[in-house]
Symmetry: C3
Subunit: 171 residues, 3 copies
């Protein structure tokens, strides 16, 4: 591998790298009973008594597929990355969430991870979280990921569109 | 909006931005029974058997108000930001904690988030955690937040003073 | 203290600081019954029904010793730092984990914290997580930590070798 050098974009209109990916979450506790084998996430805690109508306190651990198109992956090659991390609900009067995760890329074209963290403000059409670090092909990445809810099915499936823009890259 | 450019302070005495804010946590499980409606945080897990006297393992999810003065907010305009995230106790012989959260600013003067993470070393008068990223008006922020315990009431209320200093800003 | 200035390495072969440390985890729920006093970590949640053979969803809170050599610490001076944070298992078909923690240094030679986060890909011989921030002597640190499993004993003890490389330092 040629030596990589730090590239720092000083303008928010010019990320040094950008990509759009789709995150799919299939929650074990809510999926139809004959589809539990398809689940990719599961609740490690129950909602608390303070506000269980908005699932306050429910923490979900996930190893979710991430794709380049909106469709759920059918074969392994459809999976661009795996999203590994957790989210929890933290809204008292309405649904709200918080995320921390790694996007793990493991294909011949791309190997490395992006680490993300931030507030998933579910009542906003778009909301930004931070890219706080990266490894491998994404060594020392910093940036922003814009999330939007792309689809939901009951409580057991949702898909997020993630527009990822890096402003520090080693290229 | 004018194009913002990266400003990186190379001296720790000269942050590119600084602010002092107060974080208020009102814990549902510990608040007097006639005041549960005032609670803004709740425990998602119980302390473990290893050291329940110091609450080891108790993880609290929060959507707490953050103010510019020490007083609890009375009207919506008193709330400078909401702190959304979690903390847990991780001290075996004494109380100790760890935090990850987003400060969510949503007023006409300020819209965006700051993402923070680090060790809340409760036995130290002051302790520093990291600002690991930011979005919106705090796009690509990096810095340090100095925490100090400003007040406590039993187990159900504490207030932290947060001195936030950013050393990377887009201005 | 002399004024520190930002040093940013633009080459991944030349970190501005590097160190190798060993992380020791002794899990309370799995340790032999006459050794529970030695435990330094404890599970805040149980594995979920989705995949309890791989402990999916089990979240462990820790205040673990970190040493410069592979040996468990015997006296206080053997402890280079404490690792304070959490990990959880998130593998459905095989063991996999995710970490967020602070390395807390508190000796005469070194005071400060490093904040780390990322995917602990347990089936890989080495795997990288991000250094997302630092405080004190590690003020504004950014970098990468390479993890490898150095030893395991049943389910109650594992040791990780951590090769930490910083690419942004204030020196």
């Amino acid at each position: 591998r040629n030596k990589r050098r730090l590239v720092s974009s000083d303008s928010e209109d010019e990320p040094c790298k950008k990509m759009t990916l789709y995150y799919h979450d299939i929650l074990y506790e809510a999926v139809p009973s004959n589809e539990t084998a398809n689940a990719t996430s599961s609740a490690a805690t129950l909602p608390t008594a303070m506000s269980n109508a908005t699932y306050f306190g429910m923490l979900v651990v996930f190893d979710d597929p991430v794709t380049e198109s909106k469709a759920l992956p059918v074969v392994a090659e459809d999976v661009a990355a795996r999203a590994q991390g957790f989210y929890f609900y933290n809204g008292k009067a309405k649904f709200n969430a918080w995320f921390a995760m790694s996007l793990v890329f493991n294909s011949t074209g791309c190997r490395g991870t992006l680490n993300l963290m931030g507030a998933d403000l579910m009542d906003q059409k778009t909301r930004d979280i931070s890219v706080v670090g990266g490894t491998g092909d994404f060594f020392m990445a910093l940036g922003v990921a814009t999330l939007r809810t792309d689809a939901t099915e009951g409580f057991f499936y949702f898909r997020l569109q993630m527009d990822i823009k890096l402003y520090q890259c080693y290229l």
